[in-house]
């Protein structure tokens, strides 16, 4: 494949402003919003008079935001290719391949560009979610005075949880799987490059939908959106419903893309037992994404219908049941949290061999651990409903299945620990984050054992103990490995090094303050403080203040990271070596940053990337071999 198509001179800036680009997308998005808003009013009259004089046209909120999202996507050019095909044009692979910084603000089918878009986009919304967390802890500094009105506090809590959950489901798959899975399997692209770009822009549009909930009064349900409170709420809950529906679509497509890519586009010689463990993690996560997200979309669709069309899915007074929502939501929700946890496992297992200079111990056991978690996650969801009044016969079964899931999780621990055993460990910044994963996920997992035991769950359900548990597993497990992946792979992605000392400062401050904040929350929960409560008994104030101060310092540690990022990537700009970590993985045999076409020739695999101490690294371009077309 020649480079002619990709290195043609870019048109001048003014020319690029006309046509399908980010600015057009914003304009069409706003236009679409108004079309939806006024269209709904024209269709169903000035106000929907279903429950009474509601004073608000619910349908208009949905149609407005749907119109806005569709307009935004059309403006970026996502309809161009389908329309061209409908008009009879032949299929083509790449639409635009311009160079320059505007690629990152447009529909670009280069998977590496999408990976970097994801990194910054998710980073932005996680920053917003983190700010909401700071606001929560500000409110909880004292039980007596109110910083925010009580209803606003619930909106802040809901926004923090919803934004984090929605964004972090694609937190590792989005940036790093999109960038590196094709490279790791020896391909030049993903199976569906346009869908890949779509998943990113859907997520960005969804983030805007959620942040604008404050203009519609916020939502009082927290991230779980239980009916019938959601049916009763202000129009702000429509933003929440639409956000999660869009995230669900994005998740489904992302998972689908990953699975098809790995199934069909592996290079010669790459058998399943030679696949990097990171790719196995991506597969096990993607299966969950594809199967679980549609359940969420269905549940949210029913909630939207209850709100707009007065259906009775979740309203017991007219024949529905709140249990229906709870079960549907958690049937999605439990695989969802494994969507969050599994990439963390995969990153740890991928990085440990590099920094311990030893092969990954127990490769097949690790793979069965990942797949086992993936499979078992479907059979545990009712542990969120132990005291909800579910059929009593179910509870021992779900107790057993939830306890069982700790067995495949343990495999990851065993393989990681045995990889470290007798290795030669280098304490680089990515390694520090991976080691912190062991500590954090251990505490998170063991607290999960408490929650899986029904008598113990009666003590702790709905309290801050649950909060501490999932923050240890999700933040301690996923976010720490997210940073490990950033420090490990960003030099490869951008071609610039990140400052190691700043990275270590970031790690230690984050680790210390994270543990300081969340370990105390176990005690707070044990002492009886319920979740999502704006006030608490006075005797818990000291502990809450400790947590709040630690949380503020934890937020400050993120500023160290942001400073490092900006400083290293924009000012210092020290070129990164091709293989700074001495990794045997294939992406580190390529230059930094990875060239547009990935490989000169499609590689042929002869082993897995964990042969430390076994044989010399096979070269990507063997000496004497002619460089040529693939």
């Amino acid at each position: 494949m020649t480079d002619a198509a990709v290195t043609a001179p870019s048109p001048p800036l003014w020319r690029r402003l006309i046509g399908f680009n980010f600015i057009t997308a914003l304009i069409l998005g706003v236009a679409g919003w108004y079309v939806g808003w006024f269209g709904a009013h024209a269709v169903v009259g000035p106000s929907l008079d279903y429950f009474g004089d509601i004073d608000y046209n619910e349908l208009s909120v949905y149609l407005a935001y749907l119109g806005g999202v569709v307009g935004f996507l059309v403006g970026l050019g996502f309809l161009n290719y389908p329309v061209r095909r409908l008009l009879g044009y032949p299929p083509s692979l790449r639409e635009k391949e311009e160079s320059g910084w505007t690629r990152y603000f447009s529909l670009c089918t280069d998977h590496k560009v999408v990976g970097i878009q994801y990194l910054w986009g998710i980073g932005l919304f996680i920053f917003i979610g983190g700010l909401n967390a700071m606001l929560i802890r500000t409110e909880l500094l004292t039980p007596h005075n109110q910083v925010f009105p009580a209803g606003t506090y619930l909106t802040i809590v809901g926004m923090h949880g919803t934004m984090m959950m929605g964004m972090m489901t694609s937190g590792i798959l989005g940036p790093f799987a999109n960038y590196f899975v094709p490279i790791m399997i020896g391909a030049r692209r993903m199976a569906f490059p346009r869908i890949e770009a779509l998943t990113f822009w859907l997520l960005m549009a969804a983030g805007v939908v959620l942040t604008s909930t404050v203009f519609f009064g916020g939502f009082p349900t927290g991230w779980t959106g239980y009916a019938p409170l959601s049916t009763q709420a202000n129009p702000g809950i429509d933003n929440y419903i639409l956000f999660f529906a869009l995230v669900g679509v994005s998740m489904t497509l992302l998972g689908l893309n990953m699975i098809v890519t790995v199934l069909t586009m592996r290079a010669p010689g790459l058998t399943w037992t030679r696949l990097p463990i990171f790719v196995w993690g991506v597969i096990s996560t993607s299966v969950l994404m594809v199967l679980a997200a549609p359940i969420l979309i269905a549940a949210l669709g029913m909630a939207a219908l209850d709100r707009t069309a007065q259906t009775s899915f979740f309203n017991p007074a007219i024949g529905g049941s709140n249990y229906l929502y709870e079960n549907l939501f958690w049937m999605f929700g439990h695989p969802e949290v494994y969507v969050l946890a599994l990439p963390g496992f995969a990153i740890v297992l991928e990085l440990l061999p590099v920094f311990a200079r030893k092969p990954l111990w127990g490769y097949r056991l690790a793979v069965s651990g990942l797949l086992g978690v993936s499979l078992l996650s479907w059979f545990v969801w009712q542990h969120h409903l132990f005291v909800s009044g579910i059929n009593g016969d179910l509870r021992p079964f779900y107790m057993l299945s939830t306890e069982l899931i700790s067995i495949p999780t343990g495999f990851t621990f065993l393989c990681g620990m045995m990889t470290l055993w007798r290795g030669h460990i280098r304490y680089t910044v990515p390694m520090l984050f991976c080691l912190a994963w062991f500590f954090n996920f251990l505490i998170g997992g063991l607290s999960g054992v408490f929650l899986s035991d029904v008598p113990s769950d009666v003590t702790t359900h709905g309290s801050f103990f649950v909060m501490a548990h999932f923050h240890y597993t999700i933040m301690g497990g996923l976010i720490f490995t997210f940073f490990a992946a950033i420090y490990y792979w960003v030099p490869k992605m951008t071609g610039w090094e990140l400052n190691e000392r700043l990275g270590k400062i970031h790690f230690w401050t984050m680790f210390i303050f994270f543990n300081s904040a969340f370990s105390v929350l176990f005690a707070v929960g044990f002492l009886g403080q319920p979740r999502r409560s704006v006030t608490y008994p006075s005797n818990l104030q000291f502990l809450n203040d400790w947590v709040s101060i630690s949380a503020f310092l934890l937020g400050a540690s993120m500023l160290v990271f942001i400073f490092n990022l900006v400083w290293s990537l924009a000012f210092v700009k020290k070129p990164a070596a091709a293989n700074p970590w001495g990794s045997r993985s294939i992406e580190f045999q390529l230059p930094s940053p990875v060239p547009v076409h990935n490989f000169d020739r499609i590689p042929v695999f002869s082993g897995d990337p964990y042969g430390y101490g076994e044989e010399p690294m096979p070269s990507l371009t063997p000496a004497g071999a002619p460089a040529g077309r693939d």
Binding site: G362, V387, R422, G613
Partner: protein
Amino acid sequence: MASEPTAATPSGESTNLGLRVVVAWLVLSAIATPLVAIYVGPLIPPGNGSVQAQGQTFSNQVMVGLITPVLCLMAVFFAYGLIRFHMRANETALEGPPIRNDSRIQLLWLVITTTMVLFLAGFGTYELLKDGAGGGQGPDPIALPAHHHTAFPVQVIGQQWEFTYRYPTLGGMESNQLVLPENTLVVLHVTSLDVIHSFWAYQLGVKADANPGTDNVAYVTTKGPLVFHVRCAELCGLWHGYMFDNGFVVSHTAFTHWAARAVALYRSIKPYVNRPPEKGGAPFSLTYLPAPPGRAG
């Protein structure tokens, strides 16, 4: 990059180091577990306010006792490993022994973890089925304490944003204070008039979600006189955080006096309760009486 296997026979050295870790772990666990049991054990919630709370406390204590050795193992392994296997300055070219697997260790790990898990599941099931552990079991409870037929019924009604309590055996008297007699098996029927709430009586060790239109049954056997905190544990709207109260377990004589006063106060409003709408009952009145077991989630 050339690789250099370590000088000593891999398996021999591994076994030696492994034994060191195992011995250190056993010693540390033998010290730590009793210390935890003695000093941390009594602090474990929710305490001994009721028989069910006592059961929960016991479950929690057993689990704390079980996870102590696990934490010790991780602590010993990482404290030892991260120091012993740290790459020294003169080892930067060294790559570790190419050990990819050891099926004995895999089997051992699998057996130990599975045993622990099955034990926990069995233990938890036993504790749960013994007396319900204070949790809500839906309209069709299966974990029934002894003599549950003669349990003292109280209906807990959650609404936005207050709990009220009806006593069917006291003429359907309703009160906004939960008062219970000591040393009695009480059956709580928890329901809601609007959205999902959750009745959490901390010192009694009771937690049961209040679902609209459903009866969620929880058993609790009270012990001595007690003040307990009632909180709402499921987000239910604006004042969820303020939906708390104090409840009381009192002696039988005190309970009789209180009940007499409360029934007298209730008499004035009683004619209006549960009057069907066609007979002039309040249009929203959904005060729910415990009905025969019905459908649930």
